[in-house]
């Protein structure tokens, strides 16, 4: 993977929350184009905080982050430029409940990319078909199941044609029987060559889809390795402890 261009480069990132909690303590990560990086780790280890710094939903106090060649700084223009290229899928879906499914998808491309509405709608319907919910395009999010909502959220991000997709525990709020339909969509996306950073507890997904598994603990990246090696022969004591805990 070293041959393909660098998409995310985070160096020694430190973050304190306003209440003084030291969430990130020198976290490092590089992600190359086409890679699928799965971040695992115990709760409170800073996984979510870390990927939320990649599109400036969280600020950080020390270190540097470069996304798609743009250095993350407090410059608003840089932040907006990065957010256009980075899609984000949340644990709680965060669909806009006052808009139909189709409007959820078309809102940003029309407003931000200034693309013609008819063209965006055509693309949106294609995307909805890809994630298997095009019949529901005129419904409101409140009328869909959790799994359907999360697939709409993925399609909504894709409609902006991002170069990177971030997933923040995308299946944690779902009923168990709905998890696989979301993971399937994510797997297809990965096979299509999308650069992805995924925070998840889904070991099977990590084994089958990840190009690299990263273990975080206490605000640091403790170990990173290809999935086969990580799950069968973890090098770090912290990793072994974590794998024992998740059984």
């Amino acid at each position: 993977m070293t041959g393909s261009p660098l998409m995310i480069e985070a160096r020694a990132v430190e973050k304190w929350y306003p209440n003084g909690f030291h969430a990130l303590r020198g976290a490092d990560l590089t992600v190359h184009q086409g890679e699928v990086v799965v971040i695992m780790g115990p709760s409170g280890s800073g996984k979510s905080t870390f990927i939320r710094t990649f599109n400036a939903l969280e600020d950080f106090q020390k270190g540097s982050i470069t996304v798609d060649g743009i250095a993350l700084s407090n410059d608003v223009r840089h932040i907006d430029a990065i957010r256009r290229e980075v899609g984000m899928v949340f644990q709680q879906f965060n669909l806009f409940p006052h808009l139909t499914v189709l409007e959820n998808l078309t809102l940003a491309p029309v407003l931000v990319r200034k693309r013609p509405k008819a063209e965006v709608e055509r693309q949106a319907l294609e995307l909805l078909e890809r994630v298997g919910i095009h019949e529901q395009a005129r419904k409101y999010p409140g009328q869909l199941s959790g799994g359907q909502q999360q697939r709409v959220a993925i399609a909504r991000s894709l409609c902006m044609e991002p170069r990177i997709m971030l997933f923040d525990e995308p299946t944690s709020a779902l009923d168990p029987e709905l998890v696989h339909e979301v993971l399937e969509v994510m797997q297809e996306l990965a096979e299509g060559g999308m650069t992805m950073v995924v925070v998840t507890h889904e070991v099977r997904f990590a084994r089958q889809v990840a190009s690299r598994v990263v273990l975080m603990a206490e605000g640091q990246v403790v170990e990173q390795a290809p999935p086969e090696q990580f799950f069968t022969n973890p090098q770090h004591e912290r990793s072994r402890q974590f794998l024992r805990q998740i059984g």
């Binding site: 957010r83 980075v86 709680q92 006052h98 809102l107 419904k139």
Partner: protein, 408 residues
């Protein structure tokens, strides 16, 4: 085992709900007797003792104040335009299918409303003993409204291209109405001092409602802003206004605006009062909207921002629409209070509905007719507030997109 509930006959329902036990029966009987005697008393008073001449003779005064007689055609024209626009909007709303529910062009409520409207247009002028000409005009207005409602329901959905213009209808009509009432554009001016009665009440209330709404939204956003100056300014404003009684602010407005601005610039007394009402209500609307903003999960803004929407876009398209939906009931409550608060204008010497009523009651010819006047006043206000309440509930149902299971 629990017996399977049987479909109740009306008689059984009455028995179960009103006479379940001896005590229940006693309470029911006592309340019925009280209610009946009150109704009989009012009916007896209204039909045999009350002298409605005070209303009949002064009906124009109550509605328009001292608006010049030869210019009243302008208000008739405005009423006709309003009737047409109401019918149009009503019909279009019904024709538009909402989330998951098919459009029903003539639901039962609407048929009842039309019948009531026509009955009112027939009976009210008769009760007020107005001339046949005015009688005819009211009937024509009601028919116009119903026709516009029917036409819009029938052909409205077909004219997709004109849809965006419908939203402009009301603002344009409002500005046009201001011109028709106050003069300008070739119409001879009628100074605000000559507006009165229901006209002044509705005008000042609607003016304040329209302007306090955007102001309140801005204040609510300001109160949650990250910029300290904006935040503290908003907090200071809201808390100051909410800490002062409206009547003191009205007096303050009458005096202070006169001191602050040179003579020509200070708006007329009526406008000063309308502005004070606006600023007053804005603080309360701001608090209602703030409650809506607080209720919004932070993930909504995060999702909008991570899709690349700039802050103003995220606010306009994602945050504010949802916050307003939550704030709607509280906001309409504030609007209803605002409408009733316009009666305070009479205390600063303006001739709103209550002001007119007080001048009428001061007339020796109508001495002792207070009960008739106040009853009509109360009914008028009740009608306006009921309309606001009904409108807001209809809007809530229409905006409710959550958990309406799709009908197959």
């Amino acid at each position: 085992m629990v017996p399977i509930p049987q479909p109740d006959s009306a008689w059984r329902r009455v028995r179960r709900q009103l006479f379940a036990s001896r005590l229940d029966g006693l309470i029911t009987v006592v309340l019925l007797v009280l209610l009946l005697s009150a109704a009989l008393g009012i009916g007896h008073w209204a039909l045999s003792q009350a002298q409605w001449a005070v209303i009949q003779v002064n009906s124009t005064l109550f509605t328009l104040g001292r608006y010049p007689l030869e210019q009243q055609w302008r208000l008739w024209l405005l009423t006709a335009l309003l009737a047409g626009a109401s019918g149009l909007s009503w019909g279009l709303l019904r024709a538009e299918p909402r989330a998951g529910v098919n459009a029903r062009p003539w639901p039962r409520n609407d048929r009842i409303a039309v019948l009531l409207l026509l009955a009112l247009a027939l009976l009210l002028p008769a009760a007020l003993q107005l001339t046949a000409l005015i009688h005819l005009r009211w009937l024509a207005l009601a028919v116009l409204l119903v026709l516009a409602r029917w036409a819009a329901g029938r052909w409205g959905p077909l004219r997709g291209r004109w849809r965006p213009l419908v939203g402009l209808l009301w603002p344009v009509l409002y500005l046009l109405g201001m011109v028709l009432i106050g003069g300008g554009l070739g119409l001879s001016p009628v100074p605000p001092g000559e507006w009165g009665g229901l006209l002044l009440t509705l005008l000042s209330a609607s003016f304040a409602m329209l302007l306090c709404f955007p102001l309140g939204v801005l204040l609510a956003l300001g109160r949650r802003s990250a910029l300290p100056l904006l935040r503290w300014g908003s907090v200071l404003y809201i808390e100051f206004i909410r800490g002062a009684p409206l009547i003191t602010l009205l007096f303050l407005g009458q005096n202070i605006l006169g001191f602050l601005l040179p003579g020509g610039l200070a708006p007329d007394r009526v406008w000063r009062a309308a502005w004070v009402l606006t600023f007053f209500s804005a603080a309360y609307v701001a608090e209602a909207v703030r409650a809506g903003l607080v209720a919004l999960p932070p993930g909504q803004l995060e999702a909008a921002r991570s899709l690349g929407l700039a802050m103003p876009q995220a606010l306009v398209h994602v945050v504010i629409p949802q916050a307003l939906r939550v704030a709607l009931p509280a906001m309409v409550g504030q609007f209803i209070i605002l409408l009733q608060d316009t009666t305070l204008l009479s205390l600063i010497g303006l001739l709103d509905l209550l002001g007119i009523a007080r001048t009428v009651m001061a007339n020796p010819a109508f001495l002792g007719r207070n009960a008739e006047v106040y009853l009509v006043l109360a009914l008028l206000f009740w009608c306006c507030c009921a309309a606001l309440g009904l409108g807001s509930r209809a809007l809530e149902t229409r905006l409710n997109t959550s958990h309406t299971p799709a009908k197959a």
